[in-house]
């Protein structure tokens, strides 16, 4: 046995099984297509270390989409006798899942059948005779509940029993008939009334109750994100910064007589003789305050709510409801998932555009995300800065971005050749993930954010300070001052912030803090930062996903729009 492949229909919990087998943590959610990148890990089996590959979900061995193609072609990389295929099934929906199972057996793969979510099947009154199923399929079959770990040990023990079983090849229609016969023998359904959960599942896709529920869900989610974010800032991070960190820094710098290069770099400017976390701009002052005091609280609250929506399985339902609108933008409803992920960070958002089939759709979605979808760090800073001028300006930024997305989508849809494929999606049942799974995923995402953001923020602020100290920005600001002032109505120092936006958006907005801008200027600068160049991480992903030509196209669109929008806002708003 050289390799173990995990294969199964979308959304049966492959990634959770993968995490259990290898200890490698990967993001899993309750919607088809969470896994767009191939994860690899190792399972220790006695003395051997065997590579385990988590494949994207597929309904059959005859691929009908790009991610299915990837799954099937990887499966055929090694000779069949050198691999073991763990076929993961959703026990609550045995019938549909068996189609792939039978195909795998027909093709002669050594298969171990893993009947996942067996606890949920029990709740829903689905009973499966496992022994009978093993006999019919002629393969080991193990009931598991990967979320809690039930059955995983047995699954590992029985891997060695995997062997090719012979089966006649059937046509697809005969295959479904055969499955019908198998289901009759092994599955017993308890007759029960509709549960509250099933009523809710129904109501959220009905044409009247669906949109009502969606409006409620979005409104409540937004409120909770703000509430938790502010709670963390007011009760935890702000007290820590002002009561513990500031006195500590002040004591450390008390005896620092000569306020030269290093002082400037680490502490920054003193405002009225004191450290001001929002204005000092030092590597030890403003940099950690931006990241931990302003952005991190919202990253935590945003992902907490997104994780709940993802794991319950609400997002595909939202996708159905928005299909009509998104069709006019050249996308279909499922594009709402990359967009929502993009609100957290544009990078995973653009990566997940892989769930969309055509290149055209991926281009439209990626461009829309990088122009019109502000990430959490940027949004947190906009709230932090513009909030004090009132909700009018904050919602103004969102209004501008939202209109931009609509206009841009309409134009792209009309000008790009090609068509938008249609929506065809399985809607998962609602599932209620245990709290520890939610917290684990939150921890995993926060860790990812910190690893990515903190070094860049610290280095970024250091870099800016060096340039400022040696007055190297003056040359650039001199050249661009007429444009910045004349077209956008911003002071010439704002060019530094706009340029830093390419590094990280939160630091860029942070650079605006000491400039003492008016509400109008802040509003324009924040909007420009949201629209213009994506940060470098996003840029690299765009490049990788779309190729150079499309990135250049997308960048040109960005620059044009930035100038038009910045100038329009400047001339429209009077005060």
């Amino acid at each position: 046995m050289k390799k173990i492949y995990l294969i199964g229909n979308p959304n049966v919990g492959k990634s959770v099984v993968f995490s259990r087998l290898t200890g490698v943590q990967v993001i899993s959610s309750n919607y088809p297509g969470t896994t767009v990148e191939i994860s690899k890990g190792y399972l220790k089996l006695g003395e051997e270390r065997i590579e385990v590959v988590d494949l994207p979900g597929t309904y059959s061995l005859e691929p009908t989409s790009r991610s299915e193609e990837v799954a099937v072609s990887l499966l055929k990389e090694y000779p069949k006798h050198e691999i073991v295929v763990i076929n993961i099934l959703d026990s609550t929906n045995l019938e549909r899942n068996l189609f792939l199972t039978l195909q795998l057996i027909e093709e002669g793969f050594p298969v171990v059948v893993c009947l996942n979510m067996c606890d949920d099947a029990g709740h829903r009154g689905v009973h499966i005779d496992i022994e009978k199923l093993e006999k019919i399929l002629n393969t080991p079959a193990i009931p598991t509940c990967a979320v809690t770990g039930v059955g995983i040990k047995l699954l590992i023990e029985r891997l060695k029993e995997a062997a090719p079983a012979s089966r006649n090849k059937l046509s697809n229609e005969e295959l479904w008939k055969e499955i019908g016969r198998i289901i009759e023998q092994v599955q017993r359904l308890e007759h029960r009334h509709h549960s509250f959960r099933e009523l809710l599942e129904d109501a959220s896709v009905r044409s009247l109750s669906g949109p009502l529920i969606a409006t409620g869900v979005i409104y409540v989610s937004f409120k909770i994100v703000r509430f938790i974010g502010e709670l963390i800032i007011n009760k935890i991070t702000d007290p820590i910064f002002s009561n513990i960190y500031q006195p500590l820094l002040e004591r450390l710098t008390l005896h620092w007589q000569e306020k030269g290069f290093w002082f400037h770099l680490l502490i920054g400017d003193l405002i009225n003789g004191k450290i001001d976390f929002k204005q000092s701009l030092g590597v030890l002052t403003t940099a950690p305050y931006i990241e931990f005091g302003m952005v991190l609280p919202y990253v935590i609250s945003f992902y907490f709510i997104l994780n709940i929506l993802e794991d319950i399985g609400y997002l595909p339902r939202l996708a159905i409801l928005l299909d009509n609108v998104l069709h006019r933008l050249g996308l279909h409803g499922y594009a709402i998932i990359p967009v929502l992920l993009g609100f957290g960070c544009n990078v995973p958002g653009i990566l997940s555009t892989r769930v969309l089939e055509s290149k055209r759709e991926r281009f439209i979605a990626s461009t829309i995300i990088s122009i019109g979808v502000p990430c959490v760090p940027l949004q947190a800073m906009i709230f932090g800065l513009l909030g004090k001028f009132g909700g009018f300006y904050v919602s103004g930024v969102y209004m501008v971005l939202f209109s931009l997305v609509l206009i841009l989508g309409l134009i792209l849809n009309h000008t790009l050749t090609g068509y938008s494929p249609e929506f065809f999606l399985e809607i998962p049942p609602y599932r209620f993930p245990p709290l520890f799974m939610l917290l684990k995923k939150l921890y995993f995402r926060i860790k990812g954010f910190l690893i990515e953001a903190v070094p860049i923020v610290l280095l970024g602020v250091m870099f800016i300070n060096i340039l400022l100290y040696f007055k190297l920005f003056d040359i650039v600001t001199g050249i661009f001052a007429p444009i910045i002032k004349g077209v956008f109505g911003l002071p010439k120092e704002a060019i530094v912030a706009l340029a830093i936006g390419f590094l990280r958006k939160d630091v860029a907005v942070g650079m605006l803090m000491p400039l003492g801008l008016s509400a109008k200027q802040l509003f324009i600068a924040a909007t420009l930062l949201a629209i213009s160049f994506p940060c470098i991480a996003t840029f690299i992903v765009l490049w990788k996903e779309l190729g150079m030509k499309s990135v250049i196209k997308s960048t040109l669109i960005m620059i044009t729009i930035s100038i038009i929008v910045g100038a329009t806002l400047n001339f429209l708003i009077l005060h």
Binding site: Y59, S60, E62, T64, T92, N93, E95, R96, F99, V126, N172, E173, W176, E201, D202, V205, R206, S207, G210, P316, A319, I320, L321, D323, N324, H332, G333, E422, F423, F424, L425, E426, I427, P429
Partner: protein, 77 residues
């Protein structure tokens, strides 16, 4: 017995799939997800005028774009 497309069916109506129109690619896709000749399905809802159609097929809930829904022919009572 009447033949209608999924798009024309009414919400909560039951019926049997009798024909899949469209190219081989679409037919395969439908087939892989368990929508094949002889399968009993129930229409749950239809979003908007030309929006997606939601059906229950076996234990799965599927959402199909309007265009695809017009290509699945159902026999209803």
């Amino acid at each position: 017995m009447k033949k209608v497309s999924l798009a024309q069916m009414k919400a909560n109506q039951k019926g049997k799939v009798i024909e899949l129109l469209g190219g081989a690619g679409l037919q395969n896709k439908l087939m892989n997800m368990g929508v094949y000749n002889g399968k009993e399905v129930t229409k749950l809802s239809h979003i908007g005028l030309r929006g997606p159609v939601v059906i229950k097929s076996g234990r799965s809930i599927l959402a199909l774009g309007h265009g695809i829904a017009t290509k699945v022919i159902i026999e209803v009572e």
